[in-house]
Subunit: 235 residues, 2 copies
Amino acid sequence: MRVEIWSDIACPWCYIGKARFEKGLAAFAHRDDVEVVHRSFELDPNRAKGDTGPVLEMLAKKYGRTLEEARAMEAHVASNAHAEGLGYRTEGRDHGNTFDIHRLLHLARDRGLQNELLDLAYRANFAEERSVFDPETLVTLGVEAGLDEAEVRAVLADDSAYAEAVREDEREAAELGANGVPFFVLDRRYGISGGQPAEVFTQALEQAWQGRVLQPVGGDAAVCDPDGSCEVPGA
Amino acid sequence: MRVEIWSDIACPWCYIGKARFEKGLAAFAHRDDVEVVHRSFELDPNRAKGDTGPVLEMLAKKYGRTLEEARAMEAHVASNAHAEGLGYRTEGRDHGNTFDIHRLLHLARDRGLQNELLDLAYRANFAEERSVFDPETLVTLGVEAGLDEAEVRAVLADDSAYAEAVREDEREAAELGANGVPFFVLDRRYGISGGQPAEVFTQALEQAWQGRVLQPVGGDAAVCDPDGSCEVPGA
């Protein structure tokens, strides 16, 4: 079975939702038969690269609240993160454009290291004093994930590298009806929006597993079967 | 949309079916939104590596026919291949264990070169005087597909490299009810068995495209949306 998770590094509910999903997955009997793929979704795609600013000020401005109220909103998110055993800094975090980290996550997918980089990037952004909007930090995170440093630098230096892969993920999210993230898709059959409780993921996995019956299309046609014979119907 | 094709290099209907599928895909309006993945399926997994023998003799023995009758069976397959513009040698081909080429196809997938290697391997096996059961030929095919020679040799030298990926594909085929190949799966929703006519593939792609509606699971939960806000329902 295949689970695709659309998310953004800058999205706290994606960070928390990933932990909840993983808890739900751990309780699922067929967890070893589940392939998980990260898909790109930028919360702020039009923001210029390098244009970063404090999360608290962004929140206050967006919701027309005071900085104190924004701090309370962040504290609410932090308590949800802590409940999942995740670190969460309510002060000093920046917001910005996440295109480059999504491009690196596609490189990491090609190298079989996507989940490693994703976890490191979330932790850097939410729990540590490290900015995922700083190119050198991205290089360090890539190397910590197990990627080749020269390859990471080459991708970062070439804005077109994996750009189409990111855009394609975002087009697919729109086609599948995802208006926000995290957005979980099970075998392109079930859609789960938001950082749901772990049990919701377990139940959805069970439902998708039981519903894994393919609808046959087409009539009889020539096949080769495992004893090596190749039958042509009617021949 | 995602199409997974289970097949074996030693399977003539997989070779022909791939061409028919590609013709059907070319006639599909949303062809640029279709991702195609090759999945491993060995027709003769218990055969020892290096134990190869003439296809004609294998066919004659399996079906209790004379060599002349086996030749006629191959001629029938060849006429189907030719109708798709594919070369097909009815004499001199060998049959054997395809585990190593499947392992290489997984390496090629990781490097974004799977379709290139697959086409080269089919052509070598069915149309050319090249044996896909010979390790040096596999190295050459890998390099022709664009893979790094040292990496190809490393995979071939290590029997465990990508072995689990091949086995996992085969387990999934069994779970999905595939008893023979080629076996086409569209978005894990529709299954198409055998080398069907191109129009069957086009119709199935259209059907799967129209049916791409996700079933929602779970209640309201916190999401972050593209204007950067993160809403907690009821908060």
